[in-house]
């Protein structure tokens, strides 16, 4: 290992900064001085972002390995939790192309969102609390990104979940926000159960292998990614005979871990929490529920890709679920009225994209892996921009409902421009970022022989363009339809609500502008060159990258068709859309109701778990288990009454008892005495 520059060997500073700021802001500044709290929190994350860029720069200039790949480094590793020898958890930093890439994304978006939030939440009661948790989130997310082992991953995984919970429930006196935050936490928690079980399964077998390897495994712990992805370990894992319900051990472990990822990345059918999570403040949605946390699932699969690659079935699951989710979410996205929910479904759909990209990848066709990470990279910027733009709009009009907006391009030109830019990016229009990454994903699907998935991808690309432009047209074009009748506003700026909407302050649009630049530029970053699946032998094949016209043309075409349809229905005569909706009838209603998934879940939890399991258990406990305890007491008392009844007061009865005692004594003594 070459001598590492300061930042590479001190990569831990990057998560440490937000952590320090979290403690400082949370314990000291929050109650004392709110603006200072926001400023410190923001500054800390900006510093972290600066360090990340520096780190990325240094990292990319490191000498390549013999196989031509970027090196994998673990510059810091401190024992934290010692389960047992060979199974301790070392907190540390793992630097490889994807972690460095995500480090940059997370810190950058987070810094911008912090800055944006200082304007967005200006003067609110929970300002200090908000930044406290935003810092905590940033720290946890960075810890997750840098995790060198599964347990640190899990730890930070849970912490991002908790900070997400607190941020979704930021408006804690609003019942919808409260229930959304609960839902998000519980659903992801349920998925994390899978992750945990995956760790248990993998931990057990990896530990057994680790113990059998002796000195060959020295310096590595069983749950380190470095250990788990060793070719010799993988082959031993693959060779495991154990079966569970007909599923091989490795597949089982991979699928369980994937479950965790699917929960966080809101894959079908665990997607239900993400749309509701939009109850949180919009910058939170931008950061957590669009750019960073939700991609953790994708990142997890990518990070442990060698394990998945060792199990074709697991990859199949990843692909199918991903593809289905992308289509499913896109369908629902076409019907929603809440601007943030549309964006949420769009996020779902894009996450599905990334997932199936991973699912189609393999050592033979490694492009999917690269494409997925590339899309993750670009999506973070344009989706964050979309959310911040939506936030800017909501900030101005105090409603989430697109049908109450309209005509905003006149009032908010900057927001409009940036939003359009991002919308074009997500629609896959060249030369914006979305085009390159989406193109790569479609190419990966096509070239690995998954034609159906390619078809789905193409369809979804079109639908994405359609629904994104639907909200774009409805929000920014046409006449102003602002209604003051009811708000679902994020916060109470009552003094503004009657005035005309106006452009957001600079502190809000500058971050958006930066994201806009990134949206334009991200596609040209040579991520596909840097982020590549390293084959087991460590030798990277020659990179051949370029736009594949066979894919790019249909992809772009799908986007254009989608935009055209959206224009047809929503930019002109509103009656067109209405009549289409009427024609679709019940079908439309079902889609709009999100296929009633919320209701199904509600039924399962409320009616089955609460009413049919928990309620009866509580009753059983009180009546039967405790009843038995009380019955014991009652029987004892009854015995007392019986003994007392023998105490008749009749001296002759007593005499009879006494004599019978003598007789009994004779009997027992006779029986026990050896003569």
């Amino acid at each position: 290992m070459p001598d590492l520059s300061f930042i590479l060997s001190h990569a831990w500073l990057i998560p440490a900064l937000p952590l320090a700021s979290f403690l400082l802001v949370g314990l000291v500044l929050r109650p004392l001085h709110k603006p200072l709290a926001g400023a410190v929190a923001t500054a800390a994350v900006f510093a972290a972002a600066g360090l990340s860029w520096w780190l990325a720069f240094d990292y990319l200039h490191l000498p390549k390995t013999a196989g031509g790949a970027l090196p994998v480094l673990v510059p810091t590793s401190v024992e934290w939790l010692r389960f047992q020898e060979g199974l301790s958890v070392h907190l540390g930093t793992l630097l490889d192309p994807i972690s460095v890439m995500l480090l940059v994304v997370v810190t950058t978006v987070s810094a911008l969102v912090h800055l944006y939030s200082t304007g967005y939440l200006h003067g609110e009661d929970g300002y200090g609390r908000y930044f406290t948790f935003l810092n905590l989130f940033t720290f946890s997310m960075l810890g997750l990104v840098l995790a060198p082992n599964l347990v640190q991953m899990y730890v930070c995984w849970e912490l991002v979940g908790a900070s997400s919970f607190f941020l979704i429930g930021y408006y804690y006196d609003r019942p919808s926000a409260v229930s959304a935050s609960k839902k998000a936490f519980i659903v992801t928690r349920f998925a994390d159960l899978g992750f945990l079980l995956g760790i248990l399964v993998l931990g057990y077998y990896a530990f057994t292998i680790h113990a059998g390897m002796g000195a060959a495994a020295a310096g590595q712990q069983a749950l380190d990614f470095a250990f788990l992805t060793r070719p010799d370990v993988l082959s031993q894992l693959q060779a495991l005979q154990g079966q569970f319900l007909g599923i091989g051990t490795l597949t089982l472990a991979a699928v369980l871990i994937y479950t965790g990822g699917a929960g966080k990345s809101a894959m079908f059918p665990l997607h239900i929490w993400l749309p509701d999570a939009m109850e949180g403040p919009t910058p939170v949605s931008a950061l957590i529920h669009a750019a960073t946390m939700v991609v953790a699932g994708v990142y997890l699969v990518a990070r442990s890709f060698p394990i998945f690659a060792a199990s074709a079935e697991a990859l199949q699951v990843v692909m199918v679920v991903g593809a289905f989710t992308s289509l499913f979410a896109a369908t629902i996205g076409c019907t929603q009225d809440d601007i943030k929910r549309v964006l949420a479904f769009s996020t779902l759909s894009q996450l599905g994209y990334m997932m199936f990209a991973l699912g189609v990848a393999s050592y033979e066709h490694p492009l999917g892996y690269t494409a997925s990470m590339f899309h993750l990279f670009t999506h973070a910027f344009f989706k964050a921009l979309l959310f911040l733009g939506a936030g800017s709009v909501i900030h101005a009009v105090h409603t989430n409902n697109i049908w109450q907006m309209g005509g905003l391009r006149k009032y908010m030109p900057i927001t409009h421009g940036l939003f359009l830019l991002a919308t074009l990016a997500i629609a896959g229009i060249p030369p914006l970022a979305g085009f390159f990454s989406k193109d790569e994903i479609l190419a990966a699907a096509l070239h690995s022989g998954h034609t159906v998935v390619f078809g789905v991808g193409l369809l979804v690309a079109g639908m994405t363009a359609f629904y994104m432009f639907r909200i774009y047209f409805v929000t920014f074009w046409g006449e102003r339809r602002l209604s003051h009748l009811h708000h679902q506003d994020d916060h109470s700026h009552d003094d503004h609500s009657h005035a005309d909407p106006h452009e957001s302050p600079a502190v809000m649009w500058i971050p958006m502008a930066v994201l806009g630049l990134l949206t334009i530029g991200a596609g040209f970053v040579p991520i596909p060159e840097w982020v590549r699946l390293v084959p087991l032998d460590g030798k990277l094949p020659e990179a051949h990258h370029g736009v594949d016209l066979a894919v790019a043309i249909p992809g772009t075409l799908a986007g254009v068709i989608g935009i055209a349809l959206a224009w047809f229905f929503y930019a002109g005569d509103p009656q067109r859309a209405n009549s289409a909706v009427l024609k679709l009838g019940r079908f439309y209603a079902v889609i709009k109701a999100k296929f009633y998934f919320d209701e199904i879940y509600l039924f399962v939890t409320k009616s089955i778990i609460f009413r049919l399991i928990a309620g009866p258990i509580a009753w059983f406990d009180r009546m039967v288990v405790d009843g038995l305890v009380n019955a014991t007491g009652w029987v004892t008392r009854l015995g007392g009454t019986a003994v007392n009844a023998s105490q008749t007061g009749q001296v002759q009865t007593y005499g009879s008892w006494l004599m019978s005692g003598v007789v009994l004594a004779v009997v027992v003594l006779w029986a026990t005495t050896r003569q």
């Binding site: 024992e79 389960f83 159960l193």
Partner: protein, 515 residues
């Protein structure tokens, strides 16, 4: 007199000092109690340091031993002809439990600052109770252990009966009697071990070197485990716990759930598993199954509870199930997890009950649906509640996760002598509870602290006072420190657990005496 004796004596002397204060001076009584417990906390810190000085050099050696080492030992012959000694000392597990107890009693005294009814008797009994608790944790003679064990249990009757609420007499009686039935089972087991192979000693360190025949181990182990299990709220002997906790006053709930229930896990580990390894192997899977019921059943039972204390009590049933589950796994990670869980649940539930007491003191209701939006009114209490809740659902970074991850790994790894399919299935079932826990914790807390303020009277309530902040702050800090730096506790307890595990691993159990 050595450190261990002082640790037992200080609360007792404090109790006497409280008795000496005139009844009317209730403020003075509180201060005396506080100073006494603070002194105890200080001494505990010093003892921890002293213990570590002695124990840390042995950490390598103990990895291969089969008799755990005891430090700071004091031995005074007592009933010599019967082999009964006054034998106290400290090892890693007991040290961690003493730290826990010391923290809980200190914060408990702070949390009882507003007890006005018969203050003197209250603090006296409270201190007598912890004297018993410290005695149990520090004694290494079974007779002494048993003696302190009952001293720790009995004052509970009056503490609940006099200062409790609701059906206090019923609850107090049920609690006392069920625990006493447990101690009856334990007593039989103790005496059987005492007389086995003519060893006639109650000295734990000597008993550990004796080999009990397999038949004896097999029938004594369940007695010991169930006996202690009753105190550890093992299903189906847990029903004293919801009623008892619901009726008890704040500090008593704190001590009871926080510390006393730990005696169960402690005894099951220290006496059951340690002395009767073959019995433990024979019954391990059975008790894993029973405690799995505990874990899942307790958490499901908590979902529909309306009373905050019942809610926490069922949650305790579930969490204490983890302790016993960990003990029943019979491997290093499981046992370590059990001890860690004792510690973390102790602090966590102590925090919960302290907070419930504080909230109840303000709202005069513990019924969850009658409250709402209190987070706005009492942000400090809400924050502490959330941290406790997060610890309870096993959020990493807080103490609960450290313990539960150990226990899950321990359960999943199983042992060479258990059927892996069964032990893993049970572990998987047990893990389900972390989701259920999330459900009830979030539901409960959301109802109480979030949403709009439900009762207009509640809008004028105040946040925590200084003593309350101190009390809850210490507990929260303990949760966080333990969760963030688990190595502190793990280093402390591991050295004691290695020999226990080594005994279990050694097949045939013919172990030459180490000391």
């Amino acid at each position: 007199m050595g450190l261990a004796s002082w640790l037992i004596l200080i609360p007792f002397l404090t109790a006497l000092a409280v008795l000496a204060v005139p009844t009317r001076r209730s403020d003075l009584i509180r201060w005396v109690a506080l100073v006494g417990t603070a002194a105890h906390l200080a001494l505990t810190s010093y003892t921890t340091w002293a213990f570590w000085q002695e124990a840390s050099p042995d950490l390598v050696a103990v990895r291969t031993e089969t008799v755990s080492r005891v430090y700071l030992v004091e031995r005074v012959p007592w009933f010599e002809s019967l082999g009964i000694d006054y034998l106290v000392g400290v090892d890693g597990v007991s040290m961690s439990m003493v730290i826990l107890t010391s923290i809980i009693i200190f914060t408990g005294v702070l949390a009882s600052w507003n007890v006005v009814h018969r203050t003197k008797e209250f603090f006296t009994l409270l201190l007598v109770l912890v004297t018993g608790v410290f005695g149990v944790f520090l004694s290494f003679d079974l007779f002494l252990f048993f003696m302190f064990y009952e001293v720790a249990v009995l004052p509970m009757y009056l503490l609940i009966g006099v200062w409790g609420t609701g059906r206090k007499e019923y609850s107090a009686m049920k609690l006392t009697l069920m625990l006493m039935v447990g101690s009856a089972l334990i007593l039989v087991g103790f005496l059987a071990m005492y007389h086995a192979n003519g060893s006639t000693t109650f000295d734990l360190t000597k008993l550990a070197q004796a080999h009990f025949e397999t038949g004896l181990q097999r029938w004594v182990f369940p007695l010991i485990f169930i006996g202690f299990g009753i105190l550890g709220a093992m299903y189906p002997f847990h029903t004293w716990s919801p009623d008892g906790h619901a009726s008890a006053p704040t500090a008593v709930s704190m001590l009871h759930a926080g510390v006393l229930m730990k005696l169960g896990g402690y005894g099951a580990l220290r006496i059951g598993v340690y002395l009767l390894p073959e019995g433990a192997q024979y019954w391990g899977l059975f008790f894993m199954a029973v405690t799995t019921i505990n874990i899942v059943y307790g958490s499901l039972g908590a979902i529909t509870q309306k009373d905050l204390k019942y809610f926490t009590a069922y949650s305790s049933v579930s969490h204490c199930g983890f302790v016993l589950f960990g003990v029943a796994t019979l491997n290093l990670m499981g046992l370590k997890g059990a001890v860690l869980q004792m510690f973390s649940h102790g602090v966590m539930t102590g925090l919960f009950f302290a907070l419930i007491g504080m909230v109840y003191g303000r709202t005069h209701t513990r019924i969850i649906p009658e409250m709402g939006g209190l987070g706005k009114v009492m942000p400090w209490l809400a924050a502490c509640f959330y941290i406790g809740g997060m610890a309870s659902l096993g959020l990493p970074g807080l103490a609960g996760f450290i313990a539960e991850s150990h226990i899950f790994l321990g359960g999943f790894f199983g042992n060479s002598w258990t059927n892996p399919i069964l032990s893993r299935t049970l572990t998987v079932l047990a893990t389900l509870s972390i989701v259920v826990t999330a459900v009830y914790v979030l539901r409960g807390l959301a109802t109480v602290f979030q949403g709009p303020v439900r009762d207009p009277h509640h809008a004028e309530l105040t946040d925590a006072t200084l003593t309350e902040r101190l009390s809850t702050g210490i507990l929260v800090a303990t949760l966080v420190v333990t969760g963030m730096v688990p190595g502190l506790l793990i280093d402390l307890i591991e050295g004691t657990l290695f020999p226990i595990v080594n005994r279990l691993q050694a097949t045939g159990m013919a172990i030459p005496g180490h000391s």
